[in-house]
């Protein structure tokens, strides 16, 4: 087990380093003039020169990359003397437009994004598992066909379209919900729920549909296995067969997918937060696109890569814990 974990962590670090390199190449080698890009729209030649000096753009590519990677672990200082800018570890870059380290900007907004992500995950897991089990139990009935139709529809509706429809109907027309804002749970639990419920739904709908289909297919597959037939032959009643023999193997793949989906949620949060105007990490990234604030986009990309890599490792570990077949092989 430790050896298996060690391999996973090593390969994870390798992937992260490659993500770093890719991002770095894109921003510092492909873009026409990084200093101009970083400087943004309201820019003067002096500022450009300063940024060029600060970033050490006169140095060779590998030196720059080395400084960047070291900065993540040890922090770094941009420039010298009076104009020097401190960027403490983990230094994912420095936004010269908002005069803030990218990491600090992320940390400020992470709680909001985490609230949206966790709430949506709870929602889609519950809906997906319930829907999938229900349509597997009622396989072939009207309910099953209705669920199948509903999942196809939910998978097809782009989340920003759904967001606009919900917001128009529930907020503008019926006035049941407020325009979403980041209300803290401690301040007012009721308002917290009312403000976050639409982002949760919008982010969760597509996943809920996919999980319903996955759960249904898995359960039906497992019910055709020989050991389920054996369990019935032994004389076990149906609920017991489901609980003891069918559900665990049917639901383990869901765990794998869930870990990866949850880790990759930053992409979906980008659109959801932007549509609702909620100030999380995703909206920050989207705003940075409009302002051409490249260090921020780069920092968020690295964070997203980190989350995916960590998510994969966690999934592998959890998987060995809940699936005995894998445990034997590892």
């Amino acid at each position: 087990m430790p050896r298996f974990l060690l391999t996973r962590v090593t390969s994870g670090l390798g992937v992260l380093l490659l993500v770093c390199l890719f991002t770095f190449v894109v921003f510092f080698a492909l873009s026409p003039d990084p200093a101009v890009q970083i400087c943004g729209k309201n820019c003067t030649p002096e500022v450009i020169d300063q940024i060029r000096g600060n970033l050490g753009l006169d140095q060779p590519f590998w030196t720059q990359f080395f400084h960047f990677v070291v900065g993540i672990f040890a922090g770094r200082t941009y420039g010298e003397g009076a104009g020097a800018v401190e960027c403490a570890a983990p230094c994912l870059g420095y936004s010269f437009q908002s005069s803030q380290a990218v990491w600090d900007m992320i940390v400020q907004r992470l709680p909001v994004s985490a609230t949206i992500a966790v709430g949506a995950a709870v929602l889609w897991l519950l809906a997906g598992l319930a829907g999938g089990l229900l349509s597997a139990v009622k396989e072939g009935t009207f309910l099953d066909r209705f669920t199948t139709g509903l999942t196809l529809t939910s998978m097809s509706i782009p989340n920003y379209v759904l967001a606009l429809v919900l917001q128009y109907v529930l907020v503008v027309k019926l006035q049941w919900l407020p325009f979403p804002q980041a209300v803290a749970f401690a301040d007012d639990p009721g308002q917290w729920f009312a403000n976050f419920v639409m982002p949760w739904i919008v982010l969760a709908v597509g996943y809920a549909a996919a999980y319903t289909r996955l759960t249904r297919a898995n359960v039906l597959d497992v019910l055709r296995e020989n050991y389920v037939r054996t369990a019935y032959a032994k004389g076990l009643a149906q609920p017991l067969v489901w609980r003891r023999h069918a559900l665990r193997p049917a639901l383990t793949p869901v765990v794998t997918i869930f870990g990866m989906d949850f880790a990759g949620l930053l992409g979906g949060a980008l659109i959801t937060e932007t549509v609702f105007g909620i100030n999380g990490v995703g909206k920050m990234a989207a705003d940075s696109i409009a302002r051409n604030d490249q260090p921020v986009i780069m920092g968020v990309t690295l964070l997203a890569g980190f989350l995916v890599v960590v998510g994969n490792i966690v999934v592998d570990v959890v998987y060995t814990a809940i699936d005995p077949r894998v445990r034997v092989n590892a």
């Binding site: 396989e139 196809l152 032959a233 004389g235």
Partner: protein
């Protein structure tokens, strides 16, 4: 009393699913489609959902191809500003109900600018379809050829290709696409979109093609071809590839809606198709500011986009059910 026969009979309905038909396992895969005696096309033709989806796809394709003709009939190009259709006293709100739907402007006009929404949707269909279909074509070519090579030749080639696939699939694709597109110059975005989408899309097809190639390579007909002296390339393309046809068609059909959504999403975030060229995603992004006062502005492009994605999803889903049923899985 627990005798074996009784328990087996009570177990029967659950075993075969609660469906009352004997061929339930085959049909249960993804819906109510049952393969008839004819080919997949015959089975598909009896499916209402698949045919409706196909109908809408054909319609959108025709609209995209005939865009210039349609806009010459409707009388407005996507770039023309119609100041008479909007009310300057109300901040540029379209005049008339439903976002200014009139005989003049069939789908109304954009608030603020007065551009014809019908014309922009028609031209936006060109963008959506051409990008999604090109990306699908490129993904399919990449995925199939790399999957075939990895699956058939194995060894070091397989190792390298598999590693690249693992890497790309463990990558925050959407965020990285945004990063790449925002860093690169805005010229020729359509081509860039196609390339970026395909680079991250091919592993999903290649992985399946690789797996199927590996099992097909063990079959007798491949053995026979090898014994007859056929070269590796010949075996891969003449013997194995034709057997993957249905898999490839299904996977490609199911990939299209994802790419339509990705293109619209990227355009929505402002890193996709560059204005003033119309795209559905970009129209929806522009409508965010107006949705409270002019819902029609997002309803038209939103509905078109949703229906197109839904059509491809349903068609692909039914296609897979038919193919699965015919292969007796």
């Amino acid at each position: 009393m627990t005798s074996f026969p009784t328990d087996l009979t009570t177990a029967q309905p659950v075993e075969a699913g609660t469906d009352d038909t004997p061929e339930a396992p085959a049909a249960a895969a993804a819906g109510a489609v049952r393969a008839g005696a004819g080919g997949p096309w015959q089975a598909l033709r009896r499916d209402v959902g698949a045919m409706l989806g196909l109908g809408y796809i054909v319609l959108v394709t025709l609209v995209a191809v005939l865009a210039p003709v349609l806009t010459s009939i409707s009388g407005w190009t996507p770039y023309e500003f119609d100041q008479t259709a909007i009310d300057p006293n109300l901040g540029g709100m379209p005049i008339g109900p439903w976002g200014g739907v009139t005989a003049e402007h069939w789908f109304g006009v954009e608030p603020g600018s007065g551009r014809d929404i019908f014309a922009r949707i028609v031209y936006g269909a060109r963008v959506s379809m051409s990008i999604a279909l090109s990306a699908t074509a490129l993904t399919t070519v990449l995925g199939v050829s790399l999957g075939l090579v990895a699956g058939y030749f194995g060894g070091r080639v397989d190792l390298v290709i598999s590693r690249v696939m693992d890497f790309l699939m463990a990558f925050p694709a959407l965020i990285f696409m945004i990063a790449v597109l925002s860093a690169l110059p805005a010229s020729n975005r359509s081509t860039l979109l196609v390339v970026v989408i395909s680079v991250f899309g091919w592993p999903y097809l290649a992985r399946i093609v690789r797996g199927q190639t590996m099992s097909l390579a063990q079959r007798e007909f491949v053995e026979a071809a090898r014994a007859a002296g056929a070269s590796g390339t010949r075996i891969v393309f003449r013997e194995i590839l034709p057997n993957l046809r249905s898999t490839i068609i299904v996977m490609a059909t199911l990939a299209v809606p994802g790419y339509i959504g990705t293109e619209a999403g990227l355009s929505f975030l402002g890193v996709g198709v560059v204005p003033p060229a119309p795209s559905w995603g970009q129209m929806i992004a522009a409508s965010v500011k107006w949705y409270a006062v002019d819902p029609a502005y997002f309803v038209f492009p939103g509905a078109c986009l949703f229906l197109l994605v839904l059509s491809f999803t349903v068609l692909g889903d039914r296609l897979r059910a038919v193919v699965d049923a015919q292969e007796g899985r």
